[in-house]
Assembly symmetry: C2
Homo-oligomer: 406 residues x 2
C-alpha cells in the first residue's frame, strides 16, 4: 500500500478541484459551470434516489421575491452562499440584483471568486498564519474580496499579511451579538474599527452583526422584538463609529427569518439571506408577517426524491433516504402531498415514515418527494442539485464548495 | 447560462469519478488509491481545520483486535464499509482477515468492486428496475457481489434481471428484526428463501439479521439480553431453512456493539462491524463487557482537528467546526485532554465549547482535537481522511464513496 498518485486521478477523487489552496496548482476557467449527463430530460420521478432536486420556477420566484419585498426599504441583498455552495446559483443571485455574496469560510470564498463571482464578503474570520496568508493572496487576485476581523491581535496579523502581500485589504469588523463570533459592541468594537482604519494596509469597510439565534424564533412579532433588542447595542456602536469619523459603508446582518425587519435599523445596508432560495421545514415553521402558521414569504423549492423500499408494517413505510440524505435536523422532512406523514431520518441509511392516514396505497418502488429539515447542511451532503422545470431535469448544478468547511 | 460541459471538468466537480453508474463511461484502474499533496509530512497540529484525522496505529490495533477477540468463536468478520466509504481501508480490512465487506448502497458497492475489493455483500435492497439492472450488470463484472432481497415481488424482479443479464446472481434474504428492512421471520422468510432457491438465475446464499437498535443499548448485559431475544425468531427461521434443505452459507448480522455476543447463536457466521475501526462518542458511552463506564474493546482513532477562533467570553471557546464538520449527533464530540469541555456542534459553521475547568489557557488560533459524535455520518462530510502516525500526516485517504447514498 504505497502512495499512488497522478494528477487526473487526484482531481477526480477529490471533488475539490476548484480549490487552489487545498490542491496543488490547478486552474479553473469557466464561471459557474453546470454538469451535463444523460439524466438531463428525465422526469424527476425517474431519477435514482436519493436525489436533491430544485424546482427552478419556484427558486426563481424566491430569487426575485426578496428584492421585491425590500425594494422600497433601501436595504440591499448580500446572499450567503454557505447555504447552496454553488457559483452557478451565486451568479443567478448577482444577476437578480445582489450587492455581492457572503461566504462563511475561506475555501468557499475561493470557489466563488475563482468561478466568476467577483464580490465575496467572508463572514468568518481567518486566525491562523496559513489561512491569513492565503486570504491575502486571494485578495491580491480578486479586488472584490472582503475579510472580517473580530479581535485586535488578528487585525495586526491581517495588517502584516496585507503588507507582505503588497495590498490594501478591505476589512469589516464582526460584532458580537450572540456570544459566538465577533468583538464586543461598544468601546472594544470602536477601538478595533479604529485600529483597522489606522492600519496602512487595511481599509475599514463597516460592520457585521448576524443574529443567528433570531432566525428561527417562532412568530414574526417575537423575531422583531428580539431583533430590535439585539440591535440596540449594535446601533449604538454604529453611531459611535460614524461619530468618530469612520465611513461605515457596510452594515450587514439578518437572514431569511429577519430580512424584512431591518429597514428601521439606522445605517443598516444589507441582509445575508441564504435559505430564502430554497426554504425548509425549519423556516416554514416560524410563521411570517401575514401568516402565523406558515412562513410563506418564499415557497419551498428544494426536495429530496426518495424511494419506498419496504411496506411490511401497517402505517409505516421505509425509504432509502436517511440521515446521510437529510441530516437529523428537526423538524423532520415534509412529505409533499401527505400531510399526515412523519418522516424520521434518524437512521443513517433508511427513512421511516409513520402515519395514520395516507392519500393512496403505497408500494415498494414508489417515489416520494420530501422537503428537507434544514437546507444548508442537507445541501452539503450532495455533489449536485437537479434543476427541475415542468417535472423534468433541465440542468444539473454542481455544489462546488460542498464539504468546504475550511 | 447554458449547459457547459467537458469531460475533465465534469469529473473534477463531481467527486464521483469512480462511479460507472452515475457518470457516463469512466474507467477506474488503480485499486484503493491514496492522495498525495504537500500536506504529507505535516504535523496534524499544522493542518488547516476542520480536518478529519485517523491515528493509524490505533486504527491498526482495532483492525487486528476484532479478529483476536473473535478468534476462538468461529465467527467471521464482514466489515461494513458504509462507515468509512474508502476502498483503501476496505483493502486493509480484507488483508486483516475479513471474509468480505458489506456495503449499504449500490453506488457504494460499485466503488468497492471497481477499486480492488472483490467480495461485497450489499445489505440494502434494490427495488427499482434501473437499480436492479445496474446491480446485475455489476454482478456480471464481479463474481463476488452478493445482493439482498426482502420480498417475493422483488425476488422475481431479481430473477428476471439476472436472466436478462445471463448470470446466476448470489442472493441473501434480509430478515425483519427492527421493523425497518427485511421480510418477516418464520414462514414468509422461509417461503422467500425457497422462492430464491427455486429461481433458476438466483443462488440462495443465506440470511441477514441486523439489529441496528441493539448496537447503542447501554450496558453489555442489556445488549446481550436484547440480542438473545431479537435472535430467537431469527434462529427459529434459520433452523427452518436448514430443515427445509436450504444451504445457509451466510448468516450475517451484529455490529460493533454486539459483535462479541454472537457465538452462541446457532449457525451465525459473521459480524458486520464498521465503527470498531474508529470508535466515536456514541460507542464509547455504551460500556463493554469489562468496563461499564467506557466501551474499550476498541480505542478511538478518528478525530477532527479544529481551531479556536474566539475567546471573548469566560468559560466559552468558539471554534471553526460546527455541524458541517461533525453532524449534530449526540452525545457531543469529546475534546481530547479536556474532560470538562462540552462541545456543541449545533451551529452549522461554528463549534461552541463550554467548561468550568480547563487544563490550560486557550488563545485564538490554538488547535483542539475532538472525537466525533457518530463516525459514519461524520466521515460522510469529508472527501479525505488524514492518516497520522507519530503526529505526522503519513497518508491522505480518499473517501471515494462519500455522498453515495444511491
Amino acid at each position: 500500500m504505497t502512495n499512488q498518485f497522478n494528477r487526473r486521478k487526484f482531481l477526480q477523487y477529490t471533488g475539490m478541484a476548484g480549490s487552489a489552496f487545498f490542491l496543488p496548482g490547478k486552474s479553473t476557467a469557466a464561471p459557474a459551470p453546470l454538469f451535463t449527463s444523460d439524466e438531463i430530460g428525465l422526469s424527476k420521478w425517474e431519477l435514482e434516489t436519493p436525489s436533491l432536486c430544485l424546482e427552478l420556477e419556484v427558486m426563481e420566484y424566491n430569487l426575485k421575491k426578496v428584492h421585491q419585498n425590500l425594494q422600497d426599504t433601501g436595504i440591499g441583498v448580500r446572499p450567503h452562499i454557505k447555504t447552496h455552495k454553488s457559483p452557478f446559483l451565486a451568479k443567478m443571485q448577482m444577476e437578480a440584483g445582489a450587492v455581492g455574496v457572503c461566504a462563511a469560510k475561506l475555501s468557499e470564498s475561493e470557489i466563488m471568486l475563482e468561478n466568476g463571482i467577483s464580490k465575496v464578503l467572508m463572514t468568518g474570520v481567518n486566525v491562523t498564519p496559513e489561512k491569513i496568508r492565503k486570504a491575502m493572496d486571494l485578495r491580491k487576485k480578486h479586488a472584490g474580496f472582503i475579510q472580517a476581523v473580530d479581535n485586535p491581535v488578528n487585525a495586526r496579523d491581517l495588517q502584516d499579511a496585507a503588507n507582505a502581500a503588497g495590498i490594501i485589504a478591505e476589512v469589516v469588523v464582526d460584532l458580537d451579538v450572540i456570544r459566538r463570533s465577533g468583538v464586543p459592541t461598544g468601546i472594544p468594537a470602536v477601538e478595533l474599527a479604529q485600529l483597522v482604519d489606522r492600519a496602512p494596509n487595511l481599509r475599514f469597510m463597516g460592520i457585521l452583526a448576524y443574529d443567528g439565534g433570531a432566525q428561527h424564533v417562532k412568530g414574526h412579532e417575537a423575531r422583531k422584538a428580539r431583533t430590535v433588542q439585539t440591535f440596540e447595542p449594535v446601533v449604538e456602536t454604529y453611531e459611535s463609529l460614524v461619530k468618530s469619523g469612520l465611513n461605515v459603508e457596510i452594515f450587514s446582518g439578518a437572514g431569511t427569518g429577519t430580512y424584512d425587519m431591518m429597514a428601521d435599523i439606522p445605517g443598516f445596508t444589507d441582509v445575508q439571506v441564504g435559505s430564502y432560495l430554497f426554504m425548509d421545514a425549519q423556516y416554514m415553521a416560524i410563521g411570517s408577517k401575514g401568516n402565523a402558521a406558515l412562513y410563506d414569504d418564499f415557497d419551498p423549492s428544494l426536495t429530496v426524491m426518495t424511494t419506498i423500499i419496504n411496506t411490511n408494517h401497517p402505517n409505516r413505510l421505509i425509504t432509502d433516504s436517511g440521515a446521510k440524505a437529510f441530516t437529523i435536523n428537526k423538524p423532520s422532512g415534509i412529505v409533499i402531498g401527505e400531510p399526515d406523514f412523519t418522516y424520521n431520518a434518524g437512521s443513517d441509511e433508511y427513512g421511516t415514515i409513520t402515519y395514520t392516514t395516507a392519500n393512496k396505497s403505497y408500494q415498494v418502488g414508489d417515489r416520494l418527494e420530501v422537503i428537507v429539515p434544514h437546507c444548508d447542511p442537507a445541501i452539503n451532503l450532495y455533489d449536485r442539485i437537479y434543476g427541475i422545470r415542468r417535472g423534468k431535469v433541465e440542468m444539473i448544478i454542481p455544489i462546488m464548495a460542498r464539504g468546504m468547511s475550511r
